[in-house]
Amino acid sequence: MSSVQIRDVRKSFGNFEVLHGVSIPIEDGQFVVLVGPSGCGKSTLLRMLAGLENITSGTISIGDRVVNNVQPKERDIAMVFQNYALYPHMTVGENMGFSMKLRGESTEEINKRVKRAAEILALSPLLERYPRQLSGGQRQRVAMGRAIVRDPQVFLFDEPLSNLDAKLRVAMRTEIKELHQRLKTTTVYVTHDQIEAMTMADKIVVMHDGIVEQMGTPLELYDKPDNQFVAGFIGSPSMNFLKGHVRVNGVATFEGPNGVKLPLKNAPAASDGRPVVYGVRPEHFTIADDGADAEIVVVEPTGSETQVFAKLGGEQVVAVFRERHQFNPGDKVKLKPDPSVIHLFDEATGKRV
C-alpha cells in the first residue's frame, strides 16, 4: 500500500493538450474515483499512472518514488481493464498466476497465492476453466483476482463494470467496495457513471475537459458542488437549473423565467439584480400552497419514488417525491424548493455563489 501524488500533470497528443495540469493527492488506502464524461481525460490519467502513456509534464509519484520514467512492471501496480484483458489461451488459474510465473516464483508459491485469491473472489471452482467459458461477471472477478494475486501498492480500475448488465453491475459494485474494505489497498477507479462514483468512493475527483472540476467526499460534492458542472453531473436525476436574477427587497428571492419567484434563504451580499443560475435537486421540491405554479407534463412512478416532469415558468424541471401523489399530466401544482438546500451559481462563470 502506498499514497499516490499527481502533481500538475499535463498530457498532449501532438499539439493537442488533453490534460491541462491536474493535481490529485491520494492517501494511503484511499478509494479514489475519477469520474467525468467521455473525453475528459480520466482514462488517460489512469493510463499515465499505470505507465502505459508518457507524462508530458508534471510528476506522478507512488509512495515516495517519482515514477515518471519507471517501467509499468516496476511500478508495483495492478490494473483491471475495461475488457478485462484476460489471456484467452490460459486457464483462470494461469491467468491469475501469470505475473508470478514471469517473476520466476515457485509453482507452490504461485498455487498458494492463486488459491487464496480465488477463495476471496469465490473463483475456486473455476480455476481450470478458460475465459471463454466464463460469464461476464466471472471474467470480471478473474480480472480482479489477477490484480489481487500481485498484492500491489495500487489497484487501478478502468471502467471495469461498463461491460456488465445493470443488475450485475450493482452487485459487482458492492463486491469491489467490500474487497477494498478487506484489503485496504490504495485504489484509483475510473468511471463515467456518477452513481458508481458516489457509492464506492472515499474521494471523488470530477474531471471535465482535462481539468479537475472538484474533488471531495461523495456527500461534499453532492451538498456543496463548486460549480454548475459538478452540480449537474453528480446526482440522478440531475439538478434542475433555472436562469434568472436575485431580487433583494426585504426578503431575498430568485426571479426566474417568466417572472417565476422562488425562495432564497439569504441573498449573497450586494447581489440585487445579479444574474444567477438557480439550482435545485429534484428531491428538494415539495408541494406547498406558497409554491410556484407548475404544470405536470409526465409522471414516471418507479415504486419507491415518483419522478414528475413539470413546466415551471416555461422551463421543464424534474421533481422526485417519496410519497405517493396522485398526479396526471396537465395537472396544476404548486412546487416549492427547500431554500436551505438550493444552490446559486454565477451565470457567467458557473461558479458557486
Binding site: P72, I77, N83, A85, Y87, F98, L102, R132, Q133
Partner: protein, 315 residues
C-alpha cells in the same frame, strides 16, 4: 398477411406439377446446388478421375492407351530420376516454407508496430505477390544468368569474389537459387496473413502483460505465439501445399536442370507427359504427389482443430 395468404394458396392448387415442384423446399434446394455441383464435377472430379485413370494406362499422345494396372508405379519406383524429383520436392518445400515462415513472421511483427510510412511499406511487401509468376521467374532467370548476373557483378565489383557464380549450372547452387526465388514470391502471402492475425490480438493483452512484468520476448512467447497459432497453422498449410505443387517458377528458371537437380514432381510429370508424350507415366507421377499432399492436409487438420481455449460454451 392473412388476407394475402388465401389467394396465393388457391393459386398453388391450380398450378402445374412443374410450378409446384419449385414450391418444394427440397427440390428448390437441389436446383440451387446444380450449378455448383456441375462446376465441381466438370472441373474438379472429372480431371481428377481422368488423372487416376491415365496413371493406370500406357496412354501416349496421339493414341489411346490400355489399362496396365500399377505398372507405371512399378517402373517409377526403379527410376532414379523420379526419386531425385521426390527428394527435390521435399527439400524445396521444407527449405522454402521454413524460411518463408521466418521472414514472413518477422515482417508481420515489424509491420504491426507503429512505423512511418507504414501503408507504403505494406504495399511494397505485397509487390512480389502481385507480379505474375512467370514475369518474376524471368527476372530471377536473368539475375541468376551465368554471364550477366547482377549478383555476381556486384560481388565482383565489391571485391568479394573473383569469378562469376554459376547459379544455375551447379546442382546445389541451382536448388538454393530456385528456393530463394520461391521464398521471394511466397513471403508476402505469409507476412500479410500473419499481420492480419496479429491485428486481431487485443492491444490490452499486451498492456496487461506489460503490467504483469513481461519482457518483449516473454510477450512474444506467451501472448503473440499462442494467440497466432491458429493463423500460423492455416498459412503454413497453404504455403506448403502451394510450394509442393509449384511448377511455374522451376519450369521458367531451370526446366528441371541441371541434370534434373531441380526437377520437382510437378515439372517431371509435365516433362514426361507433355514434352515426352507419355501421358500415362506423367499422370502416375502426379498421382504419386497425392499421398504427400494428403499427409500435409491431415497434419494441418489435426493442428487446426480448435484448441480448448478457443471453444465457446459454458462447460
Amino acid at each position: 398477411m392473412a388476407v394475402m395468404a388465401e389467394p396465393v394458396a388457391a393459386q398453388v392448387k391450380r398450378s402445374s406439377l412443374w410450378t409446384r415442384a419449385f414450391e418444394s423446399r427440397h427440390f428448390l434446394g437441389a436446383m440451387f446446388m446444380v450449378p455448383a455441383i456441375a462446376i465441381l464435377i466438370l472441373f474438379l472430379a472429372y480431371p481428377l478421375a481422368l488423372g487416376f485413370w491415365l496413371g493406370m494406362t500406357d496412354t501416349k499422345i496421339g493414341g489411346a492407351g490400355r489399362y496396365i494396372g500399377f505398372q507405371n508405379f512399378v517402373s517409377l519406383s526403379k527410376d532414379s530420376v523420379f526419386w531425385l524429383s521426390v527428394f527435390n520436392t521435399i527439400f524445396y518445400t521444407v527449405a522454402a516454407s521454413a524460411v518463408k515462415f521466418a521472414i514472413g513472421l518477422y515482417l508481420a511483427l515489424l509491420l504491426n508496430e507503429r512505423l512511418p510510412m507504414k501503408s507504403m511499406i505494406r504495399a511494397i511487401v505485397l509487390l512480389p505477390f502481385v507480379v505474375p509468376t512467370v514475369l518474376s521467374a524471368i527476372a530471377f532467370w536473368w539475375i541468376y544468368d551465368s554471364q550477366f548476373s547482377i549478383i555476381s557483378w556486384v560481388l565482383i565489383k565489391a571485391g568479394l569474389i573473383t569469378r562469376y557464380i554459376d547459379f544455375l549450372g551447379d546442382p546445389w547452387n541451382a536448388r538454393w537459387s530456385v528456393v530463394a526465388a520461391n521464398i521471394w514470391r511466397g513471403v508476402p502471402f505469409v507476412a500479410i496473413t500473419l499481420l492480419a492475425g496479429l491485428q486481431t490480438i487485443s492491444p490490452s493483452l499486451y498492456e496487461a502483460a506489460n503490467l504483469d512484468g513481461a519482457t518483449n520476448l516473454q510477450r512474444f512467447r506467451h501472448i503473440t505465439l499462442p494467440m497466432l497459432s491458429p493463423i500460423i497453422a492455416v498459412v503454413m498449410t497453404f504455403s506448403v501445399l502451394m510450394t509442393f505443387t509449384d511448377f511455374q517458377l522451376i519450369y521458367t528458371i531451370t526446366r528441371g536442370g541441371p541434370i534434373n537437380s531441380t526437377h520437382l514432381m510437378a515439372t517431371l510429370s509435365f516433362q514426361r507427359a507433355i514434352t515426352g508424350g507419355n501421358l500415362g507415366e506423367g499422370a502416375a507421377i502426379s498421382n504419386a504427389m497425392i499421398p504427400f499432399l494428403v499427409a500435409a492436409i491431415l497434419l494441418s487438420f489435426f493442428g487446426l482443430q480448435r484448441s480448448r481455449w478457443q471453444q465457446g460454451g459454458r462447460d
